[in-house]
Symmetry: C2
Subunit: 147 residues, 2 copies
């Protein structure tokens, strides 16, 4: 149930992303890169606990997962057609297969919503499982579409 | 009451920020700049409605205010002493007066929590008022501490 709520919340917030506006294409690139950068930082903080590099703290995991879940919805609005020719690490394949990129984004958002739900339970095993699943969705797109 | 809840949530999440970790000082700079960039984008979307450049949509205002309120807590962890000598737009005065910077950050977080609470009411006048107050807290620090 929590998962359904989280996914509904994700779908709702996606409307925000879809409406995001940028004055210049460069702003869209900066926006999406910034959203990924902040998300990555907080995702890695959970990773440090999952991998035992820092002690597991359920509250910290929950806080970070909530940030990741919110930020995961944002960068996609920055992949506007006008940004295709701008310098970034996006491979040409991504623009040619934007439907697959969107599908990958959907998987990622679902996975981080599940991580968020798991973190709310405070159960380390659940956090480990959903963190791994979420990390796999990151890697899939990075491998295919990022230089 | 909603405001108190929002402020309590802000205080709770601040602990996340305080624990944020960075492998290199450069990562801290990128993190704080990224958080500000994403926050600014969503803050400006509310601004467009407040200023009548786009029609007021209470749901969109609420979504954006929630993002701003969450992101507003984050950048401060990136102002680590190790980043003082790195290239950025932070004026030397900021490092000399970090207690004032922190006080300004607190004001901003309180102001965006009030904007978030106002946006939840769906009342445009309340959004206008709290948006203006929040914008003033941005400007105060930018004028004093940003090149």
């Amino acid at each position: 149930m929590k998962l359904h709520v989280a996914i509904a919340a994700a779908a709702m917030l996606l409307s925000t992303a879809a409406h995001a506006q940028f004055q210049k294409p460069e702003d869209a690139v900066k926006y999406r890169q910034s959203a990924f950068a902040v998300m990555g930082n907080h995702f890695n903080r959970i990773g440090a606990m999952v991998q035992g590099r820092v002690p597991f703290d359920a509250k910290v995991a929950q806080e970070n997962a909530a940030i990741v879940a919110m930020l995961g919805k944002l960068p996609w609005a920055g992949f506007t057609p006008e940004t295709e020719k701008l310098k970034s690490r996006v491979k040409p394949e991504a623009w040619a297969e934007m439907d697959k990129v969107r599908a990958g984004a959907d998987k990622m958002m679902k996975a981080v919503a599940e991580l968020d739900a798991a973190a709310r339970t405070g159960n380390l095993d659940a956090v480990k499982k959903t963190f791994g699943d979420a990390a796999a969705t990151c890697k899939a797109c990075h491998d295919a579409y990022r230089e």
